[in-house]
Amino acid sequence: MTRPGPLDAHLVTAPPRGTGAFTLDVRLAAGVGEVVAVLGPNGAGKSTALRMLAGLHPLSAGHVRLGGRSLEEPGRSIRVPAQRRGVGLVPQESLLFPHLRVRDQVAFGLRHRGADRAEARRESTGWLERTGLGELADRRPSELSGGQARRVAIVRALAARPALLLLDEPLAALDVRAVLELRSFLRHHLAHVGVPTVLVTHDALDALVLADVVVVLDAGRVEQAGRPAEVAGRPRSAHVAALVGLNLVRGTSAGHLVTMTSGTDGTGGTGEPAQVVTATEQHGDVFCCWAPGAVSVHGQRPEGSPRNVWRGEITGMTPHGDIVRLEVAGPVSLLADVTPAAVAELDLAPAAPVWVSVKATEVTVYPA
């Protein structure tokens, strides 16, 4: 409808009374044509943030500005209601209107953007056919499969030509081909229409492929924000580390030696504080990360160049294509990728004691 403009939001809301929940306090910004991916564990506040942007949940402080227009600013008592924000929302639960056929679902948004009835239905049919949903146009929501409903919800939001697009896990429940198609469709469509987009996802690939900026939430706060490659390469939370499949520990560095304050790979470390030797020099609070492929596994304490050597016990083994991913618990709990050949040779099995080593040069270290 209007010319697309950038999104600039600072979302603050107090927790609902009675629950021990957190205060949400999140800054989000997306330029024209930019996609912000919002990542974070379940219950981090991602969907709530989207609802606040859409005007469905009031801010207690902060602001929402879109294309220079202030949509909400409690400090100045500004609050544009949802119906005059022009946002397009794909809610996490699809929420197709139960009484409308698929064609009318899509036409719904079009009509309220000014199209008349016949025009809206025609345009809706066009959208459905372009997105491969033409056959479903006359179905009711109760006659759709979960994935079909999801796709209709996405098309419904896109068709309304919103000034701001809010996608809550849009690709969940879709089959692989639909994911591939939609991912590439979204990439082209979003770049083309230039609408700022906020995309909630649990899929690293979505973030890497679609997003210009990644924002990682946890417990209502931003844990990390930056370019996708930056975030993927230098995770600052267990969530992101798990998402991109890296081992991550946090510690205090004194030159080349990091004393761990928390070791984390999803299994939880125990025991005396371990140390990590790094190639680059750093001081103070730092994160260290390395790839599972950089970890060597040995039957005996290894001799030689690797400077980081720890004891451990295998707690999980998962075949991953050509490799086997081991979960190792010890002073530093970590993931290690080994070949099936190595598994056979070292006679690896759950509960087996092992030694693991990581070369100092394989460890990336950066300030916390």
């Binding site: 859409a54 005007g55 469905l56 209601p81 949802a82 119906q83 005059r84 924000r85 022009g86 946002v87 397009g88 929302l89 809610p91 929420l95 209107f97 139960p98 009484h99 719904f108 948004g109 309220h112 953007r113 009711r140 109760s142 006659e143 759709l144 499969s145 309304a160």
Partner: protein, 277 residues
């Protein structure tokens, strides 16, 4: 919500899960007995031999027409005024909502005859609003067909409002929110989302209101008196007949009954084709 398919692959049917439990069957049977026995009693007692004479009596036809007309008009009035009120009670937030909600139940509890007195006190010649209506609009409600509609609407309104309010409350408000994000105003949302989702409740509210209006007696006779052709609806005709011929009253009741139940059955089955029918 609405439009659950007859055979559902993806949707819940609630029907595929075994026998009807006796804990429900037994009380339901008692309920049916309570409803059916009196009807049977009426049928047994009715003087069938006089039926043809009654049916061709022009006054009966007149009363029946008047009843159907006024009850339908009252239902429409209730829908037009009551649905918005129900929405207000269910979805809007304003001071005095508690009081207003209590107010709605008033005509329910008021014995109908007193309801008629109240209507006279309000819209009668000497009533609080009646004089004004007469002076400014030249509108006199008592003893008119319009007055019958007012009286019936007054007693039927709470049924509609309560039924619709209940339906609005159980309808999922997330759909309203979503409609807003698409730019639908509150009014558009109401028309295109809220109301369709609450349709079964609105429908049963309308049925209740229609039936209540059709059977309405006390308020109507008190507010409007009883005159053939203008205010004597079937219940009033039945009551009048009762003075001389009790059995005739029964026969008239059965006529009213058959007509209204037939209408209801027809409409309900058409609109409410159910999930397991």
């Amino acid at each position: 919500m609405s439009g659950r398919p007859a055979v559902a692959l993806g949707a819940g049917t609630g029907a595929a899960t075994g026998r009807v439990p006796w804990q429900l069957l037994v009380p339901a049977a008692f309920a049916v007995a309570l409803l059916v026995l009196p009807l049977t009693g009426l049928l047994v007692r009715a003087p069938w031999s006089t039926l043809p004479a009654r049916l061709t009596d022009p006054e009966v036809g007149q009363a029946l027409r008047l009843s159907l007309l006024t009850a339908t008009a009252s239902m429409v009035v209730c829908l037009l005024l009551g649905v918005p009120l129900a929405w207000l009670l269910a979805r809007a937030s304003f001071p005095g909502r508690r009081v207003l909600r209590a107010m709605v139940t008033v005509p329910l509890v008021l014995p109908p005859v007193v309801g008629g007195v109240a209507l006279l006190a309000a819209f009668g010649r000497t009533g609080v609003a009646g004089g004004w209506l007469d002076d400014t609009l030249g509108l006199r409600l008592p003893f008119t067909t319009l007055g019958v509609v007012v009286a019936q609407s007054f007693v039927a309104m709470p049924f509609l409002v309560l039924a619709v309010e209940g339906a609005l409350r159980s309808a999922d408000a997330r759909y309203d929110d979503l409609a807003a994000t698409f730019g639908a105003s509150r009014w558009q949302t109401f028309c295109r989302v809220t109301l369709p989702l609450a349709a079964p409740g609105v429908l049963s509210g309308a049925v209740l209101a229609w039936a209540r209006a059709l059977g309405e007696f006390g308020a109507t006779i008190t507010f409007n008196g009883s005159y053939p052709g203008t205010t004597r609806t079937m219940p009033l005709a039945i009551y009048a007949a009762r003075n001389t011929d009790f059995e005739a009253a029964i026969l008239l009741s059965l006529v009213l009954l058959v007509v209204s139940v037939a209408i209801l059955a027809l409409l309900r089955e058409r609109w409410m084709a159910g999930p397991v029918s």
